[in-house]
């Protein structure tokens, strides 16, 4: 039975099946990367010719040759900075509360479950919340502030989850060491937990915010489709952002606007890429320091 030729034959078939599937699995893994490459090439091919200084420094225009992303670029930067100002303290505060302060009771579990669920709420629903709460109920109008507050609510769950992970990675022994010296909870957080968790917190938060910045849907609900030929100078000004501007251009039938959209996408990707690069540099610097 052990030298059964049928078994050998069958084993060859099994091995062949295994090898074919491993090729299939590899191809599946490469699918995403292939599409990513095609997408980037497509965008570059359509847009790079339209990307010049004039494009960066001009306002939108009905004439494709004169159109640019100035107001959208500044709008995006405004929203980005304000969102960071609001969401970082609240997000990190929540994470600290959940990880260091909250006793393991129903309130903590409720908050945690609630955060997990909020992370799964579609972005457009945040847009509707922003529209009725900030734009209308609080009468902020279609302002930068309303936009940034909406972005804040949307990016908070992701920031909190990232910050919690960073805080959790601080060794328990460090905390116990400080407690043993008579430190209070806040002293432990302030002097032990935060310094070593901060790079991780920042990295996670920046990545979370870069996701939010690329979102067009909630901003369209807040800002509608505007044709702005000025840069916001206060938080109560109307604004537009890059994703909205890109959407606007994509929706027009003329081919030139398609090129403008592609050029706009390149600008947006550069903004996001530099945010990601910052996050990665932070992470690397942090890792090097812990190795020393």
């Amino acid at each position: 039975m052990k030298k059964d030729p049928a078994f050998r034959q069958q084993l060859r078939t099994r091995q062949l099946r295994g090898r074919s599937f491993s090729v299939l699995f590899l191809m599946a893994t490469l699918t995403g990367i292939l599409v990513l490459t095609v997408l980037l090439v497509d965008v570059l091919r359509d847009g790079i010719g339209w990307l010049d200084w004039q494009f960066i420094t001009s306002y939108p225009s009905r004439k494709p040759d004169e159109a640019g992303v100035l107001s959208a670029l500044f709008g995006t930067l405004w929203v980005m900075v304000l969102t960071a100002l609001f969401s970082l303290p609240v997000g990190v505060g929540t994470a600290i509360y959940l990880e260091e302060y909250a006793p393991d009771n129903r309130l903590r579990r409720l908050i945690q479950t609630n955060i997990n669920n909020l992370a799964g709420v579609p972005s457009i629903v945040y847009g509707l919340l922003g529209l009725s709460l900030f734009v209308q109920a609080l009468a902020l109008g279609r302002s930068v502030l309303a936009g940034a507050l909406t972005m804040t609510l949307m990016s908070l769950p992701v920031i909190i989850i990232a910050a919690q992970e960073a805080i959790r990675s601080v060794p328990q022994a460090h905390r116990l060491g400080a407690y043993a010296l008579g430190a209070t909870c806040w002293q432990v957080v302030r002097h032990i937990v935060l310094p070593s968790a901060l790079p991780g917190v920042l990295t996670g938060s920046i990545l979370a915010m870069s996701r939010a910045i690329g979102e067009a849907a909630p901003m369209i609900a807040i800002s509608a489709l505007v044709y702005l030929t000025f840069i916001p100078t206060s938080i109560m000004d109307r604004f537009t952002v890059l994703p909205i501007q890109i959407f606007n251009w994509v929706s027009r039938p003329q081919a030139e606007f398609g090129n403008l959209a592609a050029a706009g996408i390149i600008v947006l990707l550069v903004v996001l890429l530099s945010m990601n690069a910052t996050a990665i540099i932070l992470r690397n610097r942090y890792q090097r320091r812990t190795e020393e």
């Binding site: 699995f25 497509d42 929540t94 509360y97 909020l118 457009i124 009725s132 709460l133």
Partner: protein, 308 residues
């Protein structure tokens, strides 16, 4: 004596000593931060329900949920949401048909086949894929995928469910893949060893031991990805059209719940009209659908968590 010493060692949570006012003030502040998320949820629910009530004063909930015509923006008005739900499920369904096999296969590759070095090279690339803004995917669907597909299906309409669904599928591949991979990596090595020791090939170990053992995580990943596809907005708003239609034909133009909300947000629909309130009724339905799916996936993981 020893008992006393033991009691005085603080447990890491819950130490409140010295400078009670400051400590307590800080704790209150942090709690306030944590409550923001609770208020966000309450805000979403109250806002959606209150505004949707404005809609349901004019339209019965039965007509909304069972009507098969959706024409709120022109006469004669019909408020049957099914065409939007149908369009949403059609595009999300196409997306899952793409993302499920590809994402799972790539998860198997990454967890069972790939060397560490390959994994470290591939995963950041998949993260980039997940980080591409949806408006970019929409652009790609409309200006690249649609013309490509129109060579194959000449009858296809420019704005169609297929392109949007396919590209959306690519967008959620990283989600399916990374969540499933996490679930598979959590399967202990000892189970793999046992299967190899019985003469299983790598493929048999992956499909007969690792995948069944990780099934709760894999199912949860798929539900989350489906929920993400249902809530996805910009790809469909750009590439799938704005023709609410109950159809299974992916070559046709359709409209999803999300792209309808975008369509109304773009126009200057007067505040307070029934047309304006439609977006909240649709938004409420969307919120309930995705919430139920997310809750279901969490429950599923808890209920069917494997004990190894």
């Amino acid at each position: 004596m020893t008992m006393k010493v033991r009691e005085s060692i603080p447990s890491p949570r819950r130490v409140r000593r010295q400078n009670p006012l400051g400590e307590r003030g800080i704790q209150g502040l942090l709690l306030a931060c944590a409550l923001v998320s609770i208020f966000t949820t309450i805000g979403i629910v109250v806002m959606l329900v209150v505004q949707a009530l404005g809609f349901f004063r004019s339209v019965s909930i039965i007509e909304f949920l069972s009507g098969t015509k959706w024409t709120p923006l022109f006469q004669p008005q019909h408020f049957g949401v099914l065409p939007l739900v149908g369009g949403t499920l059609l595009t999300a369904g196409i997306a899952i048909l793409v993302a499920l096999p590809v994402g799972l296969a790539s998860a198997i590759y990454l967890s069972e086949y790939a060397r560490d070095r390959v994994r470290r090279a591939v995963k950041p690339l998949l993260e980039i894929l997940a980080g591409i803004p949806t408006v970019v995917y929409g652009f790609f669907a409309l200006t690249f995928v649609t013309p490509l597909l129109r060579n194959i299906f000449p009858s296809m309409i420019v704005f169609n469910a297929l392109s949007a669904g396919l590209v959306m599928g690519v967008m959620i591949i990283p989600m399916v893949s990374s969540l499933s991979e996490d679930a598979m990596m959590a399967v202990p090595r000892s189970l793999r060893d046992a299967a190899y020791g019985l003469g299983a090939t790598r493929l048999e170990v992956a499909t007969r031991v690792v995948m069944p053992a990780a099934v709760s995580g894999i199912v949860a990943a798929c539900i989350l990805a489906l929920s993400r596809a249902i809530g996805e907005t910009m790809i469909v708003a750009i590439a799938a059209g704005s023709t609410p239609k109950l159809t299974l034909n992916p070559l046709e133009s359709i409209q999803t719940m999300t792209s309808y909300i975008i369509q109304v947000s773009l126009g200057e629909t007067p505040h307070g009209t029934v047309e304006y309130y439609t977006i909240f009724a649709v938004g409420l339905l969307l919120f309930v659908m995705t919430l139920l799916m997310n809750l279901f996936s969490q429950w599923f993981v808890r209920r069917y968590r494997e004990r190894y």
